[in-house]
Symmetry: D2
Subunit: 332 residues, 4 copies
């Protein structure tokens, strides 16, 4: 081709590529996935991605299971290619051999999920997709291997650096509060009135993590009671008869409930991060706050510790455990 | 340990772990990195991460180079472990062997960078870190292998699904507009007055991609002129003497400039995504818009196409190229 | 006084004037009002204003009534001064005599209320104050004359040009939605579930007017059902069994409920403004909307028309009535 | 008329009243004003208001002057009616006679301006209208009487309770910063670079008042330098060579410039309010701030005091003057 001094090229006609690919939207999901993985540029990628997500959303469990098997088998990495690339890298470790090896060990299903993520609202749908995967893997443990890749992708996407903390209170949006009611895991919330009692008083605080690509879905939230004394009873702390103190006069912050909201993010730990961030946030706002405690019902203590990654039996106690042990010994 | 019915454990004393680890903040960066990689929970991770980033920011090129060599060598993957794990996976591919293999091929430097990202503002600093890496790699090509990992992480973090498009106009914030002036790559902007002439008229549009974790740094932006006829001359389009038309009467949108802002995101392609998103955005707002063209000066045409990933010589033309070719043939 | 080249004068000591006037905060409300009216600059005006509002809020009906009598009598205009000023103006109408006359007919209680308005949150408190005034005036009609001034001030402050329209939907804040439930005047809302049924479906719309100085208090709101046919039955329109249509396919917008929220703004008409603004808003968003109707239960029809300032018996029918009559004749 | 159980009346046809009154939009402005004042409901009020404002905006000084004469003469109050109403009120002061008197002394031009305010953006245009009025009144003092009414309306509309304070800094929007450059009255700002030097450093602060109905137009702004010592020289305070201190270590806040932005709001005092609000704002943010001073160049000292309503010769010194005098005596 030869070109003019100021070259003009038309990138798009008004009839968007969406229209051109309308035929494909009816294609079965496995076909759509293959096309999505082979599409070169991003011109039609969004269309295919949306088509795959729509198809998946309309599927029943049988089709979803088939989809996960396709991810496991057809979009698997090629171990032989990987071995060859690894050997080449071992013999001559440079950028070229490393790149080839890294490419060989990146199962195509990972690239597929990355490409699915490009359309608006996709992240939430992919989290829901993993929720299905975990559920179906109970009776079909062979697909569990695919979850390893979903989980690693989410560990990268939901890195603490990308999470946003937001207070949850009575001025929060109703569609978010509705989820707080639904997801509250420790001390059930019965009604909107009950919710108001938990959020509106000045001695009640609640904070949640959100990811910017899922603005309507809290990932995890924690509830905190501000008191002027340490209490070991949640009934006392939340009692309607309590003398609700002003936030400024609080000396103690009691974290009495923490709830993970997304089953599709199981195994991805946000709890410690959230509690730590809330401690910093409250410390800045209320300089007289000096004690931070968690209140945990005995029955669930062990699993709660697991959920927050609190190691109580580790031979190498971290600061967390040492302080907890010290408190426990003195409290007995 | 035995526990009471309602167990209380103290998570934090007000003297935050920040204070306790103050000694470590003075430690050399290689020590800090080691500790960051071995720290168990996230209690002190943020402190170490901040310390590493501070130390890096205060370093000169020599120390930065040493840091990159540490990433390359000390935090390299172990090829032997990888080979063993791959063999085990090949013999018995299940979730366990797959996980072990995936762990073995994930170079520790990747986990280090993920952990660095946890503190506020870290993402922008890591992008700047890669900018240094690319610069230093010119004279030290041995560290280029580390860039493969940075780039792959960024490909995941800066996935189209996480980018946010924002209009850039005369009501945008000054500290953002300052960057538009600085980053404009095709048709230089001389002054704030010049910038106003490019942004304020009704027939001028500008859009940028942002990543939520770097809200003050545009990643890429495109400038568009709305006209009622196709023109092949940028001088005509931007002329102060032109009859600026109302947006509603425009039939043609000419993309006359596209500028990548982040050298640390080199090789990560945003151009096609941005142009496509802008076409959709303008189409929705201005139903009479029917022609979308790009205007490219001849001298830089080839590199511009490379920058936008427009393949003009591919044996498998995508929609983009077919339309461009068609236009070119007819325009001659 | 002689001054230096660059003169320095200290405006405030850190011990704010709030502290200095603490004694006055305990003064009775009538004393505080006198001081507020005579205070020269604005240095201590805010303090006095806050003190008056606090004192009023803590008062029972007897003290509030006394307060209104003070407004009526002590802060009344002086009719003799007014007459003198009017005569002077009549004889020589210029800016000076006009200003003097205008000042003479501006009862001091008007300036008092303007000065009360300066503190944060005062506007809402003044609206509540008028609500008390209207209530107490039932048994004490002598204070009704004071309401004329309150109403005129509010007519000025709540001018259509200052009102802001906001959609009310399921993403609105809970503390606002709580008021929608409480204020709904035509078709009672039983619960939060009931509210969701009214707000969340795509064929339901709700809009409210707010004043920027009272951001948490809707002034008036209207509920609209989008349908593809005109219906004369609210039960049909709101039925849970209805086929909720997509907004884009709606041809008819039925305004089925309008509720004034602020008793303290009685007699200040927002209804027509709101309905007109909503018609424009919906027309822009949904180009296929061509019919706008209101649905009104027979029993309350007359008072409803009064509330919306729809004159049905006026010898000079406005557009509104002519269209209504035309519709009625044809509908029989 | 008889009505059905559920009555339906059509309020608006899709062809809005705007279309029906298109003929009137071409009517001369005096005709439009008459219609605006006599229009009953609000159905066509907005249309007429917009037409008047458009007509005014397109007028030259001669037509504007004629408009102001119309306001003065045709829309004047009727002094005889006022006298009669006043007499009736004096004889029998009740709500009815008071209302009649108040109505008689409310010149129709006041209601006209209130009705003009109803359309979007009207407030800013009315402020500009008063700017014209003040300008034309220099050579035509007979229209000055009309300004009394404009000023009183604005005193009500721009009541401190309705103003919003916003920080102005380098992250503010460019179209607002452009006005700061233009309006800066004391220490001229030469360029955008100069503006950045005034706004971006940590020891520089700037705050402005806005009215919600004119969000793009600052009313007044003040510039503050944070220092750790009192200085009497603006050159020292703003010097590029100064050691810019951190805000947290500042002990002194020097208000070195205050600029009124709206000539159409002349005579309406915002200065004291703004300074007082800024003192409170800075005190809350920086607890170590203990001294607040203003820095005023000698030449303009007297007029500056007038502008801030600082009475230096009052026989009844307010707190402000006593402190200033005390400081001056000690500083000599």
């Amino acid at each position: 081709m030869s070109y003019f001094a100021d070259l003009i090229s038309t990138l798009f006609e008004r009839a968007s590529s969406l229209g051109k690919l309308s035929g494909r939207k009816q294609a079965p999901i496995d076909t759509l996935c293959r096309e999505l993985l082979t599409s070169k540029g991003e011109v039609s990628g969004a269309t295919l991605a949306q088509a795959v997500l729509n198809s998946y959303a309309a599927s029943g469990d049988a089709d979803k299971l088939a989809f996960f098997f396709q991810l496991r088998d057809e979009f698997d990495l090629d171990a032989n290619t990987a071995k060859t690339a690894l050997t080449a890298y071992q013999q001559n470790p440079d950028k070229k051999t490393y790149a080839a090896f890294m490419h060989a060990v990146d199962a195509p299903r990972l690239e597929l999920v990355r490409r699915l993520n490009q359309v608006s609202g996709a992240t939430a749908q992919l989290v829901a997709m993993r929720q299905d995967l975990l559920r179906l893997a109970i009776d079909n443990p062979e697909i569990a291997i695919v979850d390893h890749d979903f989980k690693n992708l989410f560990l990268s996407w939901f890195n603490r650096g990308f999470l946003v903390i937001r207070p949850i209170n009575w001025t929060s949006q109703a569609h978010i509060l509705e989820k707080i009611i639904a997801y509250e895991a420790v001390h059930e919330i019965d009604s909107w009135d009950d919710l108001r009692r938990r959020l509106q008083p000045e001695d009640c605080r609640c904070f949640a993590f959100f990811h910017p690509s899922m603005p309507d879905e809290p990932l995890i939230f924690v509830q905190v009671a501000l008191t002027d004394a340490v209490s070991n009873s949640i009934q006392v702390i939340l009692s309607d008869d309590r003398n609700a103190i002003s936030a400024a006069s609080a000396t103690t912050a009691t974290f009495y409930s923490i709830s993970n909201c997304q089953q599709g993010l199981a195994g991805i730990s946000f709890g410690n991060s959230l509690i730590k961030t809330v401690v910093q946030t409250l410390s800045r706002e209320l300089p007289d706050l000096s004690v931070f405690v968690t209140l945990s019902p005995m029955p669930g203590f062990v699993s709660w510790c697991v959920g927050l990654n609190i190691q109580l039996d580790s031979p190498e106690p971290d600061d967390l455990r040492r302080i907890a042990a010290h408190y426990l010994i003195n409290a007995k």
